[in-house]
């Protein structure tokens, strides 16, 4: 830079950082294409970070992302709920890649705010139709055989605001009630075996320790299959907003069942018809009747880039990317169209395509500046093909709130701006 050595390199960097962020909205910002023939000062001049010392290893005992990434955050939609303590925030899918969601960006949904619990004060009780009711401490649970598994957690209401038509402009808002992390925990079947199930046992009730006392009924078959009681995500303890110190992991099933701050499991012979499986998480259909216990999240996908919050900025070479997932198994194939469904191509799946996990896909393409109508459709290992929104509405109407896995359309305009639209 032209100015001589400044002792206050830090504040200078802050200034530059702010400027860079402000310029992020300009098309072409950050490209190296400056005026033809004119040398790039970022190359010809020695930069601050190339001259002055950076922070020492002792400055960031728990590291955070670069401040140039500070726009990459969860966001909420204030008009959606009456109170932020019973509400939801959204994962910034358009800023992420790969399949693992950083813990601090995982969307969160609470019904009574975030319970802050000292693990030493946490207890898990199992009682009801068992041979011996038990109480476990976190220390007890950490002494049991563990498993590690990567699964998506999707809120049953993800995309729920879109049943009546295109409403929110950004995949963070239309599809961001989903995250995917590696959980470490103890199979629920081991805990149940410790207590010993009685022959009449058919259902479990999971309950949280938070101020909503969140409770859901879970069929025993699922509990004995692949449910984990997890204490870690992405290699470290659960985050408080994800249920620290203990939560249920119910692979492939709607997020509401993944009870956080899990403190009690009651074993019974019928479901409890809790508020969260009667008033909520039941799906009202057009005939006035409602489906209940719609546990599984069906195959779904979304293109995360380009999308309304991530417009196209360059003509020529571009990368289209997105996520696909299914609660019924693994993703086998993803197709993408750029012309509103007239023609489709197979997307390239990269990285692991695990069972009940987010799966990353790409289409590398050239853009000449024409309008695009982009869609993706997923096919899972059971042969389920992601339906269009109209196909779903034909069966369910528009008032079922939950389980909207219809195909999403993005309209990319000539200037690269991208909008959430519906097409016919």
């Amino acid at each position: 830079m032209t100015s001589p050595a400044r002792p206050d390199a830090l504040s200078r960097r802050r200034f530059l950082g702010g400027a860079a962020l402000a310029g992020a909205g300009l098309a072409g910002a950050g490209t190296a294409r400056a005026e033809a023939g004119k040398p790039d000062p970022l190359i010809t001049e020695v930069q601050d970070w190339n001259r002055y010392l950076g922070e020492g290893v002792d400055k960031r005992p728990y590291g955070m992302p670069s401040r140039f990434e500070r726009h990459v955050i969860r966001r909420d939609v204030p008009w959606l709920t009456a109170s932020p303590e019973s509400s939801v925030s959204f994962t910034p899918l358009h800023e992420l890649d790969g399949i693992i969601t950083p813990s601090g960006l995982c969307f969160s949904r609470h019904h009574g705010g975030i319970a802050e619990i000292d693990p030493a004060s946490h207890r898990l009780m199992i009682h009801g139709l068992v041979e011996k009711p038990l109480v476990f401490t976190m220390e007890d649970i950490r002494r049991m055989p563990r498993q590690n598994r990567i699964h998506f957690l999707e809120c049953a209401a993800n995309s729920g605001m879109e049943w009546r038509g295109a409403q929110l402009n950004g995949c963070q808002f239309t599809h961001g009630m989903v995250h995917n992390v590696m959980y470490t925990g103890v199979p629920l079947k081991l805990l149940l075996a410790e207590a010993g199930l009685k022959p009449q046992a058919k259902w479990l009730m999971l309950e949280g320790a938070d101020a909503s006392g969140m409770n859901r009924s879970l069929p025993l078959d699922k509990a004995l299959d692949d449910v984990l009681i997890a204490f870690a995500m992405n290699g470290e303890a659960l985050r408080p907003d994800q249920g620290y110190p203990l939560r249920a992991v119910i692979p492939g099933w709607e997020g509401n069942l993944w009870v956080k701050w899990l403190r009690r499991i009651e074993v019974g012979d019928m479901p409890w018809q809790a508020r969260e499986e009667t008033s909520k998480y039941t799906d009202l259909l057009a005939d006035g009747r409602s489906r209940r216990f719609t546990f599984v999240m069906d195959a779904k996908s979304v293109v995360t880039n380009p999308s309304p919050q991530a417009p196209l900025r360059h003509k020529g070479r571009n990368v289209l990317t997105g996520l696909a997932w299914s609660g019924r198994g693994a993703i086998k194939r993803v197709d993408v169209t750029l012309d509103g469904g007239r023609n489709w191509q197979h997307a390239r799946i990269d990285g692991p395509a695990l069972d009940k996990s987010l799966t990353r896909f790409y289409v590398d393409f050239d853009w000449a500046g024409q309008d695009l109508l982009i869609q993706s459709r997923a096919i899972d290992s059971t042969g389920y093909l992601q339906p269009t929104k109209d196909e779903l509405r034909k069966i369910r109407g528009t008032n079922s709130i939950y389980h909207n896995n219809g195909i999403q359309t993005w309209h990319v305009k000539a200037n690269g701006e991208t909008e959430n639209v519906e097409i016919g």
Binding site: W79, F136, Q167, A274, G341
Partner: protein
């Protein structure tokens, strides 16, 4: 934002803090009937899981007092109900003091707070109003939910008698009982049925949406013409970066 001002708001979240409406199904037939209820679950764990041969010997027996302190769930058949009673009149008084500031004197809901009464006959309409009276299936859910989660911000503070009384008042607000002297108790609780009880059925997607499986989708020249029929920008209800939380 008022309900009328946000036409497309997600009803599921709208009622976030409360009692709204839902099912009854008196003896509900389990949704996904667990077929293998076994006295001893298989010791062999899932794929890749450790398979201990015997019990681990971890945890300790729960004492009756501990179970009683935490076991607050109530089922449709009345299992879990504590002894107690309360009248509509008593419930009215408690409701006005503890609940009306959010839910309105008559359960009509203030602002964005959930509506608890009314909406009967609206479930097939364009804008259904899902309340205890119009939508919920079981009275047990009212008791269970009020006991565990209400009042919002001061949960677990009502006594069993107070919860019986508030539940009775909610029945009255929904025209399910007409007499202000009606007394609800653990004795007569299961005799009360909610109007929408029969309107719920277990997940049937694998049957009614069977057509979504096994389709080989069209890959080229799939349609002639494509028209944009709806745009999110027209509504303009997406929060922008300026309103997002500050992070530093």
């Amino acid at each position: 934002m008022s309900r009328s001002a946000s036409p497309l708001l997600l009803a599921g979240f709208a009622a976030a803090a409360v009692l709204a409406a839902a099912p009854l199904i008196a003896q509900t037939k389990a949704a996904a009937p667990a077929k293998s209820a076994q006295a001893h679950p298989p010791a062999k764990a899932a794929t890749g899981a450790p398979a201990p041969a015997a019990k681990l010997g971890l945890g300790r027996e729960a004492l009756p007092e501990e179970i009683q302190a935490w076991a607050i769930s109530v089922r449709p058949d009345g299992k879990g109900l504590p002894p107690g009673k309360g009248t509509v009149r008593q419930g009215d008084e408690i409701f006005q003091a503890q609940c009306a500031s959010c839910h309105g004197e008559f359960g009509q809901g203030n602002g964005r707070w959930p509506v608890l009464a009314g909406g009967q006959g609206s479930l097939r309409s364009d804008r259904p109003e899902k309340t205890i009276g119009s939508f919920w299936s079981d009275l047990s859910t009212v008791f269970d939910y009020v006991r565990r989660a209400m009042p919002f911000g001061n949960a677990r503070s009502l006594s069993p008698d107070e919860i019986y009384a508030v539940t009775a008042y909610l029945l009255y607000l929904n025209d399910i009982v007409k007499d202000e002297d009606f007394e609800l108790s653990d004795k007569n609780f299961t005799s009360v049925k909610l109007p929408n009880a029969a309107a719920f059925y277990d997940d049937d997607r694998e049957t009614t949406e069977k057509a979504f499986w096994g389709r080989e989708p069209c890959m080229s020249d799939c349609k002639q013409q494509v028209t944009i029929t709806g745009r999110a920008a027209v509504l303009d209800v997406t929060p922008d970066a300026k309103t997002a939380p500050k992070v530093d």
